[in-house]
Structures are given as structure tokens and as C-alpha cells.
């Protein structure tokens, strides 16, 4: 992993979905960390205080929802000032996306994802590279 590579954190309680995201990002050259729930993500962020470019947060997670995790990250300014937080969720109702944006997410990536969809989203956030 090159030190110049982009860094991302994927938080999803479902291993398969977490793995898919990790793989797709890794294939695109990202350095990807992962966590299986909110507390674990916070722990990971405390242990890896380096700035991140991207976080993919699942919404429906045990112990701590993606929204709450997002709020905490924003409050504590974890992952760096320029971190983009994307809701990585199966909630596909239009009002869901709006509410996620309102709660601090920069983008919504609706499951199921494809490589193209992920690429489009990252491009939309200015993170293609």
C-alpha cells in the first residue's frame, strides 16, 4: 500500500457486504480499514488517528446505527476534516436518502452496489483516483 493511496473505512455488520465494499475499494487502489459495528469503528478510528478520505457506514447496525455513528464521528471530528462519509445502505426509499444527507452523510450508496455505482458515487464526491 503506498502511503499516497487514499484511505477508507468500511463499517458494516454484515461481513459479506463489508467484504464487497472493501474489495471493490481495494481494487480501485484504496487503503481500506473495516469495522463490524459502531463501537468497533470508533475504536478503529481512535487506533488509526490518521486522516481518512472516505467512510462507508452501514445504517442498520446493532448497538449503534449508522446515523448515530456518523453524528459521533462528526462531533469528534474523527477521521480528519476532509473525510467523506457515505451511507452504505439497503434503505432505498427516497426520503431515506434525504434524511441521511440531513444527518451528516455526504452521499448515499444504495445496496446492491456495482463497481460502476461506487465509482460514480466517488466521482461525485471528487474522490476518483
Amino acid at each position: 500500500m503506498s502511503s499516497q493511496s487514499l484511505r477508507a473505512l468500511v463499517v458494516d455488520d454484515m461481513p459479506v457486504n463489508r467484504l464487497l465494499a472493501v474489495k471493490l475499494l481495494a481494487k480501485a487502489g484504496w487503503t481500506v480499514g473495516e469495522a463490524d459495528d459502531g463501537p468497533a469503528a470508533l475504536t478503529w478510528l481512535e487506533q488509526n488517528p490518521d486522516a481518512l478520505e472516505l467512510m462507508l457506514l452501514d445504517i442498520s447496525m446493532p448497538q449503534m446505527s449508522g446515523q448515530e455513528l456518523c453524528r459521533v464521528i462528526r462531533e469528534r471530528k474523527l477521521g480528519g476534516d476532509g473525510v467523506r462519509i457515505v451511507a452504505y445502505t439497503a434503505h432505498a426509499m427516497p426520503e431515506d436518502a434525504a434524511s441521511f444527507r440531513a444527518e451528516g452523510f455526504d452521499a448515499v450508496l444504495v445496496k446492491p452496489i456495482t463497481r460502476a455505482a461506487l465509482a460514480d458515487t466517488l466521482t461525485g464526491l471528487g474522490l476518483s483516483g
Partner: protein
């Protein structure tokens, strides 16, 4: 669903507030107007009628009172007049009777007196012819004469009044009834004699005249006649040189009697009427009443007329007449018969009342005045000549005499007598001036009563008439003196006649006084009544004013009261209606628990009851509806949540499936592996579509589907959709035909993405369920021109009638399709219908088993473009449509 127009509460929409308020006011206003018309108008009319009646009554009463007053006054006046007239007539009649009686009685008394003198002369003829015998004879014959006490001029010298001796006798107290029982009509008269009574010889002288005319024996009783023996054959030797009796004596036979006329010296007076200093001054003569003729109350100190009437009869000795005996009657005794007669209620007077015109007087048989209160009126002779003093003539006769140049005696011998006597003639003013005013009726032509007296007495009768003399109506009577001895026997008039003159007014003075009193009473009462009348009319007018004010006031008050009552009654009557209407309005506005107060069992009460029960049911229904709605909403929400959860739960694993299938395909080392990965990927994508459809349905039902309406070229949309499925149709050996007319140019209102989604879904299904034949996509205009209709026709098996609605229902499986392993398509149709409805259009199905099905999407033509003529369709689209219209797209 936000596009749908908002429909207000239907109940609220059904009743607007404005009209209801207007209706409420209107009923109340109408009631008030009705009450006012029913009550106020009659009230005003009644007031008006009452006012008119009052005015009419007041006018009538005023007029009637005035009329009554006038009538009464007229009646009183008429009664007074009538009474007076009757009274006057009665009094006049009575007075006339009385005066005529006095006149005739006096005339008879005079005649009797004269006849007694006949007896005297006969007795005298038998006497010794010596002085002593004559003297004894005369002394035995006397008669009483009353003379008044002296009168004097009053202090102002304007009238003669009783002197100091006379006064106490004229004014003496009246006797009073000494007994109560005699008080009624107690009438008292003063003694009639109030002067000095003298016993006077009847005769002035008694003579025996010899045949030669010389007086042989002569005795006188006064100094009036000469005591010397005279030759009476000579007139100048006789009394006042006027006696002519001697010439008649020779004709007398023994026993026959001669009676002469009244002979006396005429006494002139230059003043007629009261002899006062003022009158004398006016006449320009010295004031010397004593030297003028006596005139009773007008000149009580004047010189009295002295005269005589001579009786003569032959004295025979042995059948031979040796001479004549004569007796000269003192004229005063004749005068005494009338001097005290007062032809008024006084009856007698101590002094001849010349001034009042009420007196009695005597005329001789020729109509010469021989007794009169004004002694200058008594005819006499000039004692110097013995000729008759000129009588007072009327102006014309006097002028005639003066013009004739004759002596009076000569003129009068031939002068006409009683010539057209009339009040219009005037007495000769020269004679008045000279004071010669002896009244001889024959020449007194300005005194027509002379003719009247002569007429009355011509046959010895008596009577009366009225004449306007000196401005006064005077009753004048005349009665012949029935003494026919000697020359007096030549006419029926006898010695002459007594007349009485009296003011008519004096007779009926009582009546005229009564009339005056009555007039005064009438006038006073009239004035009083006039005052009362004025008061009454004022009262009436005031009353009219008061009533007018009261009427106006009470009418105004009544009007206000009536209007107030009308408003109150209208309010009472409409209050319940208003209450009901208000309650209904509140109920309509959402106060579902609002109920009307039920008061009474009348129509309003029953209306309220009915409304309340209806409201109960409505409230109950609405409550149920609300509950049902809540339940439905809850169910819908739960369904939506469920679908969202399903979507979420399906997407979560699909994420791994699709993602890793893609990774596998990309990283596949063999074609076989790549194909297998593709299958997995395709299948999972299909599953995702299903999930997406589920999600769309859920969105629609949650109201979360966003529809972005725009104007869409319908022909282009149809072509795009059809072309997209040409390949899959061809793969099944099916034709794909686009049937759009050349001139078909329609712009519909739709969400372009959703329209494509619908059309793709329908075409996809058509291709999928059709085994042989083909699919036709066509575009037409609806019959009414308001919509464009996309039709997707297939030649598939068709849909049974009982399934034609079910295919549009979400999650309903149509067995025939499912069992044939065609997969669920129901969800797609349900979604399609929901989308079309959301765009304001409709999705219809026409199907025939064994022939095929047609799904028709009808969308509204854009309002701004619908009227536009043929649209400019892009050339490519037009070409494609043309091609599609004719050939199968391949």
C-alpha cells in the same frame, strides 16, 4: 399525491355562510316589516281619522255654537220685538180707549154744564128786573176753579219749575200698606187737587137789555166787564168791542135762548214754547213773560186769556117782549174742564202741561180754538177794533192774504177753508214773528189734524187718530160737545169738540221701557254669551291643539312601541330558528357534539329533535369513518413499512450476490465461469427489479413517489419504448409493429421517465406472454380529443374476464400466468396503473381469450398544446413512426 387538488370538506362546501345569514336577517326583517305594516299603518290611519274627526267635530261644534248663539240672539230679539209690538198695541189700544173715554166724558160734561146754563137763563128771565135780584141770582151761582201755586224760573233760568209753595204739594210721600195682607199690588195715588181752589161766580155779568139795546139793569162780578150801562146795539159798547148778540135777540121768541161764540181779547206771544230768557234772546224780544200770553208750564206767569159766552133770552110781560136778559159765562169755567186733564198715568195736573204735548183742549163748532194751554193759540179779538185777531195761516194762505190787499175780515170771507191741509205745509213765519198765532182750523192748513177732528165730529161723533206732530207720533182724540142750544143747534157738532192730544210713546212707554230693558238684557246676555262663545271656541281650539299634540305623541309612542314589539316578536319568532341555524352551522363547522336545545313539542322542537338524532348518526358515522380511516392508514403504513423492510432485507443479501457475481465475471478465467457469473448476476438483477417494483409500489402507497410532470411528445415516447423491445421480440420470433398515424402529433402531460417505465412494462409483458404473432404499439387520440391513447396489443392467450381486474392488483397472482412459469407480472401492472393514475391518466385492459390483449394508456393532452395544429415531430421520429406504421420493426 400532492398534485391532487385539495377537496374541502363536502359538508362545509355544501353550505356557505353568506346566504344563510342573509336568510336569517330576511325572515326577521320580513316579520318586522309585516308587523309594521299590519300595526303601524292602521295606527297611523286611525290617528289620521281621529284627527280628521276631531277637526270636523270641532268645526261643527264651533259652527253649531255660533249658529245657536245667533239663533238665540235672534230669537230673543224677535221675542222682545214681538212682545213689545204686542204690548205697544195693547197699551195703545188701552190708552186710546181710555183717552177717548176721557174725551167723550169731558165733552158730555161740558154739554151738561152748558145746558145747565140754559136753565140759568130761563130762571133769570123770570126774576125781578132789579139789581138786588140780579146780584142774589149771581151769588148763588159759583163753581170751583183750581189754580196752581206760583212757578218760578229755575236758578239757571232755562226752565219754569214749581215755586216754593208748589213744591211740597207736588212731592209728597206715598202711602204704604199698613197690613201685610194688602201688600200685593198696593197702588197709591197722590190727591189730584194740588193747587189753590177758588169758588168763582159762573157769570161775569148779568144784564137786562131793553128793546132799544140799552142796558137797563146790570150787575158784574168782576172788573173784566164794564159796570156801566151801555148800548149793546152798538158793537163798540160791547165786551172787547166784539159782541154782536143784540142783532140776534130780535129774532128770539119768548122762551128761546141765544148763546154766543166765545168772545175775548186775543193775547199774542212772540215765543212759542218755553218762555225763557234764552228763548226771548233768540227771538230778539225783551224777556217779559208777564206781558205775554199764559202758556201753562211754558209760561206760568203770563197773562191769562179772559173771555165770555153770553146767554140771552127774551123777557115778556103779558105776552109782549119787553127786553132781554143776558148772562155772560166766565170762560175760565169752560177752561176748567180741560185745564187739569193729564192724558197720562198722572190723570190730573195742577198746571196745564203745554210742553209735553199731553193735554186736552176745546174747539168751537167752527173749529176755532177756545180752550188751549197756550193762550196765544186761543182765538180772540183785537180789543181796540173788536175785529177778530188774524188767525195763524199757512205760509201760502198768509202770502195770499198779504197779496190781496184786503182787510183780514174781507179776505177771510172769501178765503177757502180746510184747504189741502197737510203736514207738508208750513205755518206763516211772519205771524210767528208778530206773535199772532190764534188757531182757527179753517185756515190752519199746516195742521191736518184739524180736518181729522172736523171729520170725526161732523155728525156729532167722536174718535181718534195718530199723527206725526213735531217729530212725535201723537194720538189725538175728538168728541163733539152735544150742546145744541140756539145757534149751536145748527150743526151736529153742537157747541164744538173736545180734543186730547197725547204722545203715543207715553202710552206704551212701559212697553218700550220693557223693550229697552229686554234689549239691554239681550245685549248684556249677548255680550256675556259672546264672551262665553269666544271662551268655548278658544276652549275647543285649545282642546283641538291638545288632542292634536296628544294624538301625535301617542301615535309616535304607539308607533315606537309597535315597532319595538314587532322587533321583539320577530326576534322571539326567529330566535329559535336562528338558534337552530346557528347550531347547524356550528355542527357543520366541525362541532359534531353540537346539539340543538329541544324546547316545546312544536315544529321547531321536532325539527331540533330530528336534527339531533341526525347529528347523532352523522357523528357516529364520522367517528366510524375516522376510525376506519385511522385503521386503513395504520394498515397502509404498516404495509409500507413492511415493504420497505422487505426491500431492505432483500437488498442486503442482493448486494453481496450481485457485487460478487460482477467480481467473479470480471475476474473469470474461463468463458464458462464468466457465463455462469453472468447468469447469477442476471438472475439477481431480475430479483432486484422485483424488489424495485415492490419499492415503487410501496412508495406510491406511502405517497412518496415523486412524479415530475412535463410536456411529452407522445409519438416519440411510443417509438422509443417500442424500439427498446424490438430485439427481445425478434428473439422470440415475434413482430414488433409501431402504428402511429402520419398526422398524429400529440403532446401529453406526463413524467417522461415514468411513462417509459409504464410502456416498457406493458411491452415487456406483451412480448413475454406472446408465443406467436406479434406486438403492436399504437397511438391514437381519444374520441373527445382530450387525451392521447397508447395501446400495446399482443396476440397472446388473452386474459379471462374474471382476471381482468385482478391483474392490476399488487401481489395478486393470476394462476394461469404463474403456472406457466412466466413469473409474476402482477406487480408490474399494479405499478403501471398506479403510475398512470398518478400522472392523471388511466390504464385500461381489453382482452379476448385466444386472440390477445390490449393495454391502453390514456394520458391528458397538454392544455397549452391541445389546440395546436399538427405538431413538428422530429424527422427521425416521424420517419420511424412511418416505418413502424407499415412494417414490422426488425
Amino acid at each position: 399525491m400532492s398534485q391532487q387538488p385539495h377537496h374541502p370538506d363536502p359538508m362545509r362546501a355544501s353550505a356557505a355562510v353568506g346566504p344563510r345569514t342573509k336568510t336569517t336577517w330576511s325572515i326577521r326583517g320580513k316579520l318586522i316589516t309585516l308587523f309594521v305594516i299590519i300595526k303601524v299603518v292602521p295606527l297611523l290611519l286611525l290617528a289620521w281619522f281621529a284627527w280628521q274627526g276631531q277637526n270636523w267635530l270641532a268645526l261643527r261644534v264651533s259652527d253649531s255654537i255660533v249658529d245657536m248663539f245667533e239663533d238665540m240672539r235672534e230669537t230673543a230679539r224677535a221675542v222682545a220685538d214681538s212682545m213689545e209690538k204686542k204690548a205697544v198695541e195693547a197699551l195703545d189700544d188701552s190708552a186710546r180707549e181710555s183717552l177717548e173715554r176721557v174725551t167723550t166724558d169731558t165733552a158730555r160734561a161740558v154739554a151738561q154744564f152748558l145746558y145747565d146754563r140754559d136753565s140759568d137763563i130761563r130762571a133769570a128771565s123770570a126774576l125781578e128786573r132789579d139789581e138786588a135780584a140780579f146780584r142774589r141770582f149771581l151769588e148763588l151761582r159759583t163753581r170751583r176753579i183750581e189754580r196752581h201755586y206760583p212757578w218760578v224760573l229755575n236758578p239757571t233760568q232755562t226752565a219754569w219749575v214749581p215755586g216754593p209753595e208748589a213744591t211740597p204739594r207736588y212731592y209728597r210721600p206715598n202711602a204704604e200698606p199698613s197690613v201685610e195682607d194688602n201688600k200685593r199690588s198696593f197702588s197709591y195715588r197722590q190727591p189730584d187737587e194740588r193747587g189753590v181752589v177758588q169758588d168763582r161766580p159762573l157769570f161775569l155779568e148779568m144784564t137786562f137789555v131793553g128793546l132799544d139795546g140799552k142796558e137797563r139793569v146790570k150787575v158784574t162780578t168782576s172788573d173784566l166787564t164794564s159796570p156801566e150801562l151801555r148800548d149793546v146795539s152798538r158793537r163798540d159798547q160791547t165786551f172787547v168791542k166784539a159782541e154782536t148778540y143784540f142783532q140776534h135777540l130780535k129774532d128770539l121768541k119768548p122762551g128761546e135762548i141765544y148763546v154766543s161764540d166765545v168772545i175775548g181779547a186775543y193775547l199774542p206771544s212772540k215765543i212759542i214754547g218755553p218762555y225763557t230768557p234764552a228763548a226771548a234772546a233768540k227771538r230778539g224780544v225783551p224777556f217779559a213773560p208777564e206781558k205775554s200770553a199764559y202758556a201753562g208750564t211754558e209760561n206760568p206767569v203770563g197773562e191769562r186769556f179772559r173771555g165770555l159766552v153770553r146767554w140771552a133770552t127774551p123777557v115778556a110781560e103779558n105776552g109782549e117782549i119787553v127786553g132781554w136778559i143776558t148772562l155772560a159765562l166766565d170762560h175760565d169755567h169752560l177752561m176748567e174742564f180741560t185745564e187739569h186733564i193729564q192724558p197720562t198715568n198722572e190723570r190730573y195736573t195742577p198746571i196745564y202741561d203745554a210742553q209735553s204735548g199731553n193735554y186736552a183742549f176745546i174747539w168751537d163748532y167752527k173749529g176755532r180754538s177756545i180752550v188751549h194751554p197756550r193762550h196765544y193759540f186761543i182765538v180772540g179779538y183785537d180789543p181796540e177794533t173788536g175785529d177778530p185777531a188774524p188767525p195763524w195761516m199757512d205760509a201760502a194762505l198768509y202770502a195770499q192774504w198779504r197779496a190781496s190787499g184786503k182787510t183780514l175780515a174781507a179776505f177771510l170771507e172769501t178765503a177757502p177753508t180746510f184747504l189741502d191741509q197737510s203736514l207738508k205745509k208750513k205755518g206763516a213765519a211772519e205771524q210767528v214773528r208778530d206773535g199772532y198765532l190764534g188757531l182757527d182750523c179753517r185756515y190752519l192748513n199746516h195742521a191736518p189734524q184739524c180736518s181729522g177732528w172736523m171729520d170725526l165730529t161732523a155728525e156729532g161723533g167722536s174718535g181718534s187718530f195718530e199723527i206725526l206732530w213735531s217729530g212725535l207720533w201723537k194720538l189725538t182724540t175728538a168728541a163733539a160737545i152735544p150742546y145744541y142750544t140756539g145757534p149751536y143747534g145748527k150743526s151736529a157738532r153742537g157747541f164744538g169738540f173736545v180734543t186730547i192730544g197725547a204722545n203715543v210713546d207715553d202710552f206704551h212707554r212701559a212697553a218700550t221701557e220693557a223693550k229697552k230693558a229686554a234689549d239691554q238684557i239681550v245685549a248684556e246676555r249677548g255680550a256675556q254669551l259672546q264672551g262665553q262663545l269666544t271662551d268655548v271656541i278658544d276652549l275647543i281650539n285649545r282642546q283641538v291643539d291638545i288632542i292634536a299634540r296628544q294624538l301625535t305623541g301617542s301615535t309616535a309612542i304607539m308607533t315606537f312601541l309597535v315597532i319595538g314589539v314587532a322587533v321583539w316578536m320577530a326576534s322571539v319568532l326567529t330566535r329559535r330558528i336562528t338558534t337552530v341555524v346557528d347550531g347547524i352551522r356550528r355542527f357543520e363547522n366541525g362541532e359534531l357534539s353540537r346539539r340543538l336545545p329541544v324546547s316545546g313539542n312544536d315544529e321547531m322542537g321536532r325539527l331540533a329533535q330530528s336534527f339531533n338524532s341526525m347529528a347523532d348518526r352523522v357523528e357516529e358515522s364520522i367517528q366510524r369513518l375516522k376510525e376506519a380511516k385511522t385503521k386503513a392508514e395504520e394498515a397502509s403504513r404498516m404495509k409500507t413499512e413492511f415493504l420497505a423492510n422487505v426491500s431492505h432485507e432483500l437488498r442486503t443479501p442482493l448486494n453481496g450476490v450481485i457485487g460478487f457475481a460482477e467480481l467473479i465475471r470480471e475476474d473469470a478465467e474461463t468463458e464458462d465461469m464468466r457465463e455462469n457469473a453472468e447468469v447469477i448476476e442476471k438472475s439477481s438483477r431480475h430479483l432486484l427489479e422485483l424488489v424495485n417494483s415492490i419499492l415503487d409500489v410501496a412508495k406510491i402507497e406511502a405517497g412518496a413517489l415523486s412524479i415530475k410532470l412535463a410536456e411529452v411528445d407522445a409519438a416519440e415516447a411510443a417509438r422509443t419504448a417500442a424500439v427498446a423491445h424490438t430485439a427481445s421480440a425478434a428473439a422470440k420470433g415475434l413482430s414488433m409493429t409501431l402504428d402511429v398515424a402520419d398526422d398524429m402529433a400529440a403532446v401529453v402531460v406526463a413524467d417522461p421517465t415514468r411513462l417509459q417505465q409504464v410502456l416498457h412494462n406493458l411491452i415487456h409483458n406483451a412480448v413475454k406472454f406472446t408465443e406467436t404473432g406479434g406486438v403492436t404499439v399504437s397511438l391514437t387520440l381519444a374520441a373527445n380529443g382530450g387525451a392521447a391513447e397508447f395501446a400495446v396489443r399482443d396476440t397472446g392467450p388473452g386474459i379471462p374476464e374474471n382476471m381482468r381486474e385482478a391483474v392490476f392488483e399488487a401481489f395478486r397472482q393470476v394462476d394461469a400466468f404463474v403456472t406457466r412459469g412466466q413469473g409474476g407480472a402482477g406487480l408490474g401492472l399494479a405499478l403501471a396503473r398506479s403510475l398512470v393514475l398518478a400522472m392523471g391518466g388511466e390504464l385500461r385492459l381489453q382482452s379476448e381469450l385466444g386472440v390477445g390483449s390490449v393495454f391502453i394508456v390514456s394520458l391528458p393532452i397538454a392544455a397549452s398544446r391541445s389546440a395546436a395544429p399538427k405538431m413538428n415531430v422530429p424527422a427521425t421520429t416521424q420517419a420511424a413512426a412511418q416505418t413502424a406504421a407499415q412494417t414490422t420493426i426488425s
